[in-house]
Amino acid sequence: MAASMFKQTFCFLKNAATSSFANVFCSSERSFTLYTYRARRRFKTVRRRYNYVPMGRPETPPDGKYTTEPLRFIRSGGRDLNGKVVNAKIGGGPKVSWFMRDSNYPEVGERDEKVLRVHPDPVRTAHLALVGSGNHKRYIIAHQNVKEGDVITTSCQIPPIPVRAVEGNAHPLGALPIGTIVHNIEKIPGEGGRICKAGGSSALILRTLGDKVVLRLPSKHEMALDPKCMATVGQVSNSGHDAIPWKGVGEKMSSGYRPRTGWRHRKTGYHGRKIKPKRTFIVKPTPPKYETFKLSGV
């Protein structure tokens, strides 16, 4: 037994020793595997908290331009791209509409915007705020203490003295003082907000490290970012949505979950449809090159 185990390891190492590791881990040879669906995913229904998010995909407008009109949201029903049931515990629920939310920051020096409406979002955990300036309206993430009639400013300038942080305003990270709470942060300047968009989340500015600004994320990781990246001050709205529990089965069913089959209908490997993953083909690494020596006739 030990010998066989030893052999297995030795064979692997032998192959590894003779063939260059660059060949085995080279991406060009592994690229054949990416076209096929390899991993056998185990679908677990995560026990979602209340004010959950429906599972599905949105329908984008045909123009591709930004609109404030409600659009269609298509529920998945537990179906895959091929149309087959992949998760039988999803299904039902009310029809829901989806609004396009703008998390980009405009590239102007300064702009004032006025909050017109605030209402909850059926597709996300954070609330939505309708905001208008000039002739343009858009939806943004609503912060904790937002009201109708507030005026919000965004500015791209970094003065030498840090700016006094007012809730709702947007500034680059280099302009904000240490200790401010911040959300909708950019990773690369000019790209758009990426971090801390969910309900109740926020990040903290800890210190500066040379050219960069260090943030503490909600997962307690620290991240160093360019000081030109934009962020808005404050905490995202709807912070207590985690704590509300489900009332019962009826509420879950009416929201889009389906029951689990009980012990009488417990499935084993013997019952039911045979669902197996598709086989992949792995390109074997190139065989090792043996050096050949020719003997001369001397």
């Binding site: 030893f6 190492l13 020793a17 590791f21 660059a22 017109l116 208008g132 000039g134 005026v151």
Partner: protein, 429 residues
Amino acid sequence: MRITRQLFVSRKSRIKLLLDNLTYKDLPLNAPALSDVDIVKVNERKKHEEKQQSLPPELADDPRFYVPLKHEERKNYRQVPAFLYNNKCRFIEGTKQACVLTKSLRFDGLPENVQQLVDKFEVPNESRLVQKAILKSQLWDSAKELLPRRKDPEYPNFKFNREYGIPLEKKLNMLSFDFFRIAETAVAAKYPQTTKTRRMIFNPSGMATFFKYNESLLSFYVGINAVITSRSMLSPFVPEEQVESKSSGSIPSIYPISPTIDFFKTHNYNLKNSIGFSEISSKFPHTLILLNDNDWSEDERQARALVTAMGVLLAQAKKTFPGIKARLPAPMAVQVVNVSETALNFTYFQLNTVDFDNTEDNVKNFVWFDTNNVLFDKLMPQPWKGDEFKRTRIESLDLDGFKKLLATVGYCADLEESLTQFHDKLIEL
């Protein structure tokens, strides 16, 4: 054979020897740089390449591969964009936004000239006739059409059964035109010559204007349900001498927003200036009638009434005083009646200037709002509360709104009668 610690330890040294002979320890950390790979600094994120355009379909008219036309290819393309107004433009700030657009001062209640006429027109069996009109529209009509689904905010998950009944559009038509028929007979009983001078036109078409506001073109296509016209112009609510003294107040500002935020911006449009009913003898509008076949708030409905009144008067001012850019030599006025399911709303608008850009001018336009004159309470069924709440209930009649309607319809009726008598006397001579 069982793998024991002794065996594992005895082979460990052998494995170590082999591993030491290999050089794999060094390779992953100090791997040689491949020539094909370029080191990229993370200053920008890689943008997704655009998908290659698919081949054209075999049939030219295949609707599955329809691509909409660009703006330049559609008809009526102009380089200068314009903002269009429609019946379905919903002002987000309500009457405040409309007042800033039309540069008008706001007053609440009825103007003085109309307030004096409130109790002067008598209708025999007034309450009985009004109740008949209400019940005709709500209950006695025999229409059976599928009504839209109902949702109650008190109990959102309750599922109502689908009902068949009278649609909203028909209810409003019946209610409003019964009221106006009663009002016109009451006015004609006192001033009989108004039957010759006045007309009622249903769904007039072709009413449009355009003008410049803060270096942007606006074009109005106004939609009206009905209009009462007369042979002579309405006398203004505030005479010309008192216009300057009364326009001393200030207009509120909606700073980050411009009042054209709800308009539709296009490059394809047609500019037109026309009144729809100019080919008949009675061509001056007296009252406009709007039916609120929507679920807006009363504030938004009044804003729509203001803007339609302004559009109608602008079209007329451009025809009577061509080439005008500022103050009018004679002010013009119009009345609007907004009919919703249970209430009546009134607006009275007077046009003094056409210069809408200057907010700090001496002369401004005037607006009177009288909203939410509720005639009756309609309580929809809520079966989860008990047996008493199973059916719809119509309660508490209030006739104040109807009396105001009589006053608006009867405004300037005495002037028309005197003018017609004068006109007939001339013919006799």
